[in-house]
Symmetry: C2
Subunit: 199 residues, 2 copies
């Protein structure tokens, strides 16, 4: 006979669906909630159940949202002339939290590879708006979904006529305060090649 | 306007009730569940809600249980002549998982200090059973709830007449494979004083 009553055991098991949570952490979490924070546990259960049902993808940029069009896409003050293409909704959040970017986003929601030897597609008749609206997944981004590349956000600028006119990729380099000993060779090579003149 | 829709933000906030989960981890957990494991999230929400309502304390040993009497106390094969007094339900689980102890438990459910200069209380008329059954919290354990001592399980042995006849405290010492450089002085002093002859 086990020391754990069935329900407690099921709670510990259920907590292991969280990333980075092993048997010991799950046990610690279960006991913490039961002994010290039942109210927090109840609130988490309710918000979690609601989130799993109600949060879907924004119909424009495909980031996670509980509305048809997310708050960013619905914001009229964002710059329609700048589009940041990222791989996942997490990256939208990271860029929003750490940069001053005020344009629009498009989430590829899948790995992709830049299409080489191909000019960006000109679509003069298309109304202004991020790529992917009404199109296939990644169809307008000049990327193919096959698992390589695109791990960094890419900035595209449009001329307001629906024609791509410029594209940038965010810089590769060593992290601020990072020690060179711990940086992989590829990153260090990029950082070295992309060096700037001081002053 | 925030990049996070309100519900997603509430989910990240709610996840922070878990011990050791900061803003970054909570965000990672929320996105993981939403993008990769909705079923796990739904199951966690349901088990969590049920656990917060149904799991209480065993009426005999006071460990956490969804039944009036926990599986350990209800097990007739455990040794009634051995009682292990611990501070928290987590310690019951730790001892069950790592030792061969086959006696009963009693959970103090609060810090305590051993009563010095006082003999254990004799209760000849009392039927055999762990202390605390029908008594006040910790009243029969020879401990006072004031926040010191008792952080390790203490073994008490009874003679079957309800009279305490012997008590042990688990050993203090260095962890298996532990390096002496990282052990605090108090623990090292206990380990040194409690050394055993080899062979």
């Amino acid at each position: 006979m086990s020391a754990e009553p069935p329900l407690l055991q099921r709670l510990v098991e259920a907590l292991r669906c969280l990333p980075g949570v092993g048997p010991k952490s799950a046990q610690r979490m279960a006991f913490h909630l039961l002994e010290r924070d039942r109210e927090g546990g109840r609130r988490l259960a309710a918000v979690l159940a609601e989130s799993m049902e109600r949060i879907g993808h924004c119909q424009r940029c495909r980031t996670l949202s509980d509305r048809e069009v997310c708050a960013l896409c619905a914001n009229p003050n964002r710059d329609d002339g700048l589009l940041c293409v990222v791989e996942t909704p997490t990256e939208v959040l990271a860029i929003e939290q750490s940069t001053g970017f005020k344009g629009r986003y498009f989430v590829l929601a899948g790995a992709c590879r830049p299409r080489r030897h191909r000019a960006p597609r000109a679509e003069p008749g298309r109304p202004p708006g991020p790529p992917g609206r009404g199109g296939g997944a990644g169809a307008d981004t000049g990327h193919e979904p096959d698992g390589r590349g695109c791990r960094d956000g890419t900035l595209h600028q449009r001329d307001g006529q629906g024609v791509w006119c410029d594209g940038d990729r965010i810089a590769h380099g060593v992290p601020l305060g990072g020690e060179l000993d711990y940086v992989d060779g590829g990153t260090l090579a990029h950082a070295f090649a992309g060096r700037h003149r001081i002053g």
